[in-house]
Symmetry: C2
Subunit: 388 residues, 2 copies
Amino acid sequence: MNFSDEEYKSRLGKVKAAMAARQAETLVISDPSNMHWLTGYDGWSFYVHQGLIVALDLDEPIWWGRGMDGNGAKLTTYLRADGIRPYADDYVQNPLKHPMSFVADILREKGLGKKRLFAESDNYWFSAKCASTLADELGTPPGDATGLVNWCRLVKSPQEIAYLRQASKVCVNVMDTAVASIRPGQPERAAAAAVYRACVMGPAGTPGDHPAIFPIMPSNERTTCAHLGWDPERDYREGDLVLLELCGVHKRYHCPLSRTVFLGKPPDRLRHISEAVLEGVAKVLEFIKPGVTAERVEEKWRDVIKSYGVVKPSRLGYSIGASYVPDWGERTVSLRPGDKTVLAPNMAFHLMPGIWEDDLGFESSEPFLVTESGCEPLTRYPRGILTP
Amino acid sequence: MNFSDEEYKSRLGKVKAAMAARQAETLVISDPSNMHWLTGYDGWSFYVHQGLIVALDLDEPIWWGRGMDGNGAKLTTYLRADGIRPYADDYVQNPLKHPMSFVADILREKGLGKKRLFAESDNYWFSAKCASTLADELGTPPGDATGLVNWCRLVKSPQEIAYLRQASKVCVNVMDTAVASIRPGQPERAAAAAVYRACVMGPAGTPGDHPAIFPIMPSNERTTCAHLGWDPERDYREGDLVLLELCGVHKRYHCPLSRTVFLGKPPDRLRHISEAVLEGVAKVLEFIKPGVTAERVEEKWRDVIKSYGVVKPSRLGYSIGASYVPDWGERTVSLRPGDKTVLAPNMAFHLMPGIWEDDLGFESSEPFLVTESGCEPLTRYPRGILTP
């Protein structure tokens, strides 16, 4: 296991306390990152319905999932064998039979059928059909506990921070690899392939892992938006603009990082945006300390870039931690107007001031930890336009 | 675009006909592979809510999604600019504001607010909260059109088959790469890294792409279940058993393939299972032709392996096509009891007879096309235990 028994117990305690505060007696968890954080479960089986049941009345979570994944739960979680409940294969992608009926059976068997049930209504994988099946089975729809577990994950433990620091080593190696691969005449896909390789391999002594988001590395007009990959059929050319939003991963903890590469002399507009963003990032990192709110961080940023005539309508960043596809964000705090979360030591964020204009984009981000007195960037990577 | 205007038009026509047959007047589509198949949309933006609206009353689909992804929709779809509707960033991961309210606004604006609305209730990304928000906005919950678009994708066009054949070339190169990387003393993660690289790069002349499932390549006790990856900290040793469930991808079309590697002399039980599976696969491929049902294919298989004392409680295979994480399956036909789908020319399947026992596993699969008179495996890869 990646964490001590005590750490898993403490996590379960936090979740139960949050449940009690919401008058939730039973919780169905389907978000793979929440499953992993609570039990260690680690497999690519989330493409079918699976999850945990956490109940105030039960001392351990119950894992439920597809039959062929039950041995995976035995190998990767701390759960007792009788806490692992595999379902028959005909529950898979079958309009006549839904896995939530199996979950309802477990709830009834454990005497939890009439308890106040909540579910992660807007987390990954909890479909509309999951909710309606539970409602049909139990007579009442589950309450909404979207993000309940995610919020429990916000402040990181020393071991989690150690993994984030390892992930940052993987990340720097990934970024170095990407920048070195972007050369006129080289296929874009060769750079993407090298990035995947570096992310999974990691530098000497620090194993990497599979990324929760693919290498976002568009060129030229594709840099005008946020989530395009490389062009599988194109070679880089002199004069190319390339955005890189990449990550390093270690034991599922993600350290993301964005940078911008230009093959030649960058155009004036790009340099202007770069200056704005770099000043904004520097000022924001100076500003952050325990006690400031998420929205004040964004306000600080906005004040800086306003004077440059640069606009960023999207959030400035988000909390990070352990994750699986499709997202390395923790889906709790957003650095944006209206988010009044108070920053505290050992929270981790990706400060992601991506600018996507209608003819070009620029990205230079910083993953950081909140410390006792301020904040600490997780990488020391040059922030300006990279012109290899 | 990867397909002609005519092909996209024909796809939309199929979907509208399926909608009409279900008395659906409007359909909200959130499954990324369905979005891609209908419009070409191709970005890693599905970690926030996005989708299409298809209405019998509208001549083209409407793409809706996050503001920063609107330019991506312009670049990767055939849609007119006014068919691309980006939402403000504060709809992202905000408990106070849900993107389905934005979708309801579009429906009302287009005069579709009172039409019979359906959604992909159990497809990816359509959360319980999506359904309840639409119900609150429009006064009635959406009907269930799970898999409606997926079923329209079942019979492949000539261009799709051409892409599947290219994907099979990528796949063979991926498998060769994996087998060559599994050697005593080599890190498991180095093999995984090489697999990712081969999948994205592709062999000379055939670009690959990012895979919808990570390289499933467990060793030893981890082979007792279906969906574990490599061990990031372990080196292979003499006597290792390694399962490989990998794929090749070309223009999002996936050709999956599973094989089993043993570093040394395979144990008797493994050889016995291998014999059973290989005879089963051969007999099934001989048996398949247009007109047979999915359940009859599985029955044929079961008859063969029964005589070996080998049991496979899970489905024998599934339809394949274009896909995104977390699954390369098309989520329609399953080769299993009760599935009465009649096989027809130009359907594509992954025949996946994985056997996971409590102390070891064995995999040897075959992707195939149904032809006019039988079926055609997409690869010619040796099926037995590979002992490099």
